[in-house]
């Protein structure tokens, strides 16, 4: 049972404190478990602030997303591989990610939010951000993918030649 007016203080990895409603934190498996573990009575009041391994800037983005999605149904629906698609990101979420384009390194922000969503166990946010990253590379050439993701190649020449042959059917 969630008490919407109850507030929880989160301490971030860089020492900041943020107080949020349980209505938002109910979407985070990590925070909910921490609260439950620390609760002393049925009102589920945590003994102290919940420490999260997320920095303040990233946590603010997470809270912004949680605020928009506070009424989303729980548990987050599990999808089979056949049901998974990357073109169904809600308009608000697309605009939310688009805003990051104005930042110096949008990809860094995306990685940070993905990591935060993973650590905080927020399945909806994790799914959305992974889709967003997938959309950036879907249909691109190997060279384009490498450039977008800024990845070094650690294959030997022989291994690389083998992979090029194996991939000929999908690059042709």
């Amino acid at each position: 049972r969630i008490y919407p007016l109850m507030r929880v203080t989160l301490t971030t990895s860089d020492g900041a404190s943020v107080t949020v409603s349980r209505q938002l934190t109910k979407h985070s498996g990590f925070i909910e478990k921490a609260i439950t573990d620390m609760a002393v009575d049925d009102n589920a009041v945590p003994l102290s602030a919940v420490a999260v391994d997320v920095d303040d800037a990233t946590l603010k983005l997470v809270i912004e997303w949680l605020t928009e999605h506070r009424d989303d149904a729980l548990p987050y629906p599990e999808k089979t591989d056949e049901e998974r698609r990357a073109d169904d990101i809600p308009a608000w979420d697309q605009a939310f990610v688009q805003k990051w384009d104005t930042k110096e390194d949008q990809q860094q922000t995306l990685y940070a939010v993905i990591t935060a969503a993973d650590k905080l166990d927020i399945k909806g946010l994790l799914d959305m951000t992974c889709k967003t990253l997938a959309n950036k590379i879907n249909g691109k050439t190997v060279e384009e993918m490498r450039e977008i993701l800024q990845l070094e190649c650690d294959f030997t020449e022989e291994e690389l030649a083998e992979i090029r042959k194996e991939n000929a059917w999908c690059e042709n």
């Binding site: 301490t11 990895s13 860089d14 921490a34 573990d37 620390m38 003994l47 102290s48 919940v50 420490a51 391994d53 997320v54 920095d55 990233t58 591989d81 056949e82 998974r84 698609r85 990357a86 860094q108 990685y111 940070a112 993905i114 990591t115 935060a116 993973d118 994790l126 799914d127 992974c130 889709k131 990253l133 997938a134 959309n135 590379i137 879907n138 249909g139 691109k140 050439t141 190997v142 993918m145 490498r146 993701l149 800024q150 990845l151 070094e152 190649c153 650690d154 294959f155 291994e159 083998e162 992979i163 042959k165 194996e166 991939n167 000929a168 059917w169 999908c170 690059e171 042709n172």
Partner: protein, 268 residues
């Protein structure tokens, strides 16, 4: 629970700032999540380093159809649902074979359709690669009415990996012994193959009936001459049928089938 609180607060130590994260800093399950949202060609192209190459193997691909046709100088490969159409020249045969052998490692296919024009060693190798797919159905045909020779290894892979198989051409290189191997494997082992169909000519049909059931068939199966009493069978004017174990074997004028059945009743 003070201990729990201490543990949680302690988790703040060892924290890293999220300012400098790269794609490769994401944990494996995040990378797998991203892979699953890519179309199939992109999944293979994302093998950009050794770690991603390994992770790609743990992502199960599910394809509706893989279709391979040959034209005068190239293999035409079609993959759905990716709607990919790829033309691979015969001279690049090894690329097709290597690609298929990588694809089979983590791919389930609903339907495989192969239509070949030639019976040669290279096409045998292509079929060998295809029969390693975990597949529901496979159709094998030839517009020249001739398919490559299939060795016992290929036949065994068919029985282990594919549920329904249809050899829809006069498959001259499929011998009586080959058919016996397939039928015997279906009867004696817990194999995946549930239904097998093959077009056969009169000669193979007759040899097979004699070899497997101890009967001789005339051209239209009107008359069956029983040589041995070991097998139970029934027949009508155009059909010979036998059930052994849970496999029903049916021989008709132009084709034969082996089918796993639930009941032991058999009739044409």
């Amino acid at each position: 629970r003070p201990g729990m609180t201490r543990d949680l607060v302690g988790s703040v130590d060892g924290i890293t700032t999220m300012g400098q994260i790269s794609f490769m800093d994401l944990p494996d399950d995040m990378l797998i999540n991203i892979f699953t949202h890519l179309d199939h060609p992109s999944r293979f192209k994302l093998r950009l380093n050794r770690r991603l190459n390994q992770i790609q193997l743990s992502v199960k691909n599910k394809l509706d159809v893989i279709e391979l046709k040959t034209n005068s100088d190239a293999y035409e490969l079609s993959v759905k649902p990716s709607n990919l159409l790829s033309s691979i020249p015969f001279r690049d045969f090894d690329k097709l074979e290597l690609g298929l052998r990588r694809l089979v490692l983590n791919t389930h296919v609903n339907g495989i359709c192969i239509v070949m024009g030639d019976s040669n060693e290279l096409n045998t190798r292509i079929i060998d690669a295809f029969v390693h797919f975990d597949a529901d159905k496979m159709f094998l045909g030839s517009f020249l009415h001739q398919l490559p020779r299939l060795n016992s290894s290929i036949l065994l892979s068919i029985t282990q990996n594919i549920s329904h198989v249809n050899f829809s051409c006069k498959f001259h290189s499929l011998s009586t012994q080959d058919l016996c191997i397939i039928r015997k494997t279906m009867i004696e082992s817990d194999c995946k193959l549930q239904y097998f169909y093959a077009d056969v000519g009169n000669e193979i049909r007759e040899y097979f009936a004699k070899e497997c059931f101890g009967v001789t068939l005339d051209d239209d199966s009107t008359h069956i001459h029983r040589i041995s009493d070991d097998n139970s069978f029934s027949h009508t004017r155009s059909c010979f049928q036998s059930v052994e174990g849970d496999v029903q074997s049916t021989i008709r004028r132009n084709y034969l089938t082996f089918e796993k059945v639930i009941t032991t009743a058999h009739s044409c």
